[in-house]
Amino acid sequence: MTNTVNSGEAELTTTDTRADRFVRELAELKIPDPAAGRAALWLRVGGALMVLGLVLAGFAYFMAHSTTDPLAQRDAIALALGGIAGCVVGSALFLRYSLTGFLRYWMARQSYDVAALADRLTEGKVNDHAPR
């Protein structure tokens, strides 16, 4: 396709094929990062670990109380510690990936508030200098 472009005094003739336009439009295309999808997965894994860890710890508590055998009680202690460790790791993962979203929103909100405040201040200054 040949386009004639009038720009002021000069008349430019550009050869812009469909393929050229296609490549240009694709270059401007915003493609979501596949890694962004993994955040949701980690969030779910974190939540699941948190719940699973607590359940495991609770189960170990009842396991320890249902026997007088010290060996079984030690097993229960090991199980409970594993559960607590899982819960801690899960909480960290959950916080990390849920906070990212929250902080992103919070930062956007902050920047909007700051911009609005700047607008208000500028407006106030203009009004202060306005003739009365």
Binding site: T17, R18, A19, R21, F22, V23, E25, L26, A27, L29, I31, P32, P34
Partner: protein
């Protein structure tokens, strides 16, 4: 020159069933590439991957040299990728004109769309007020092509153009496809019946069980090998 469409070691699956096992395919501007193969070879899946409708499990989908794996199909369609699916994808209860006018969402004017369609396919102009469902199979396919052209495609993906059509109609349609390709778009045609498409294709690839078994310029050797591949015997 950078190909407009490129599949690089593409694998695709439906749940756990892998359908494409590392496809490498390129289509340049103004080129017609035929993708042939028996039923269930993965031809339609390849087209769906190229249109961004089906996700790649691994490998890369490149359009105009840019990796667009994971891009939304609507974005690819907006950029100029047009998929004409098997079954034509027209609205049978709407008239030919209304079917065409639905493509004004692309931003093109209705006069331009109708002009392009009726110039290339005069029979559609004569039947413009007829319901699309009452057209013959060949005319419906023409309408599907005309609707595709209304999007001003840079990459045209055609699925089983010859489905249910008489050989003479198929030849006429493929002549139009060849004419469309001379105007610049990259055309990838999926076909089960090779004869008609090999007459116009610049290159052909034969897909068997998700792997490209043969690729190159269509010649008599390829035609002979195709029969053997379709029948499942090695050559």
């Amino acid at each position: 020159m950078t190909p407009l469409l490129e599949l690089r070691d593409v694998r695709a699956a439906y749940d756990r069933i892998t359908v494409l096992h590392g496809i490498d395919l390129t289509v340049g501007a103004g080129e017609v590439v035929a993708l042939l193969g028996p039923n269930g070879a993965g031809k339609t899946t390849t087209l769906r991957v190229a249109a961004g409708v089906h996700p790649v499990s691994s490998g890369r989908l490149l359009l105009g040299g840019r990796d667009v794996s994971g891009a939304a199909p609507r974005d690819l369609a907006r950029a100029g990728v047009c998929l004409i699916p098997e079954g034509r994808g027209i609205f049978p209860n709407l008239s030919v004109r209304d079917n065409l006018l639905m493509m004004t969402f692309t931003g093109r004017g209705r006069e331009e769309i109708e002009h392009v369609a009726y110039t290339r396919f005069p029979v559609l102009g004569r039947r413009s007020s007829q319901a699309a469902g009452t057209l013959s199979g060949g005319e419906q396919q023409m309408l599907a092509l005309a609707r595709g052209l209304a999007t001003d495609p840079a990459v045209l993906l055609l699925d089983e153009l010859s489905m249910g059509l008489a050989p003479r109609v198929v030849s006429a349609l493929y002549e139009q496809v060849a004419a469309i390709a001379t105007e610049g778009p990259a055309v990838l045609v999926v076909e089960q019946f090779a004869t008609a498409v090999l007459g116009i294709a610049d290159r052909a690839a034969v897909l068997v069980r998700g792997r490209i078994e043969q690729q190159g310029r269509p010649d008599n050797g390829m035609r002979t090998d195709l029969a053997a591949l379709y029948l499942g015997s090695s050559t």
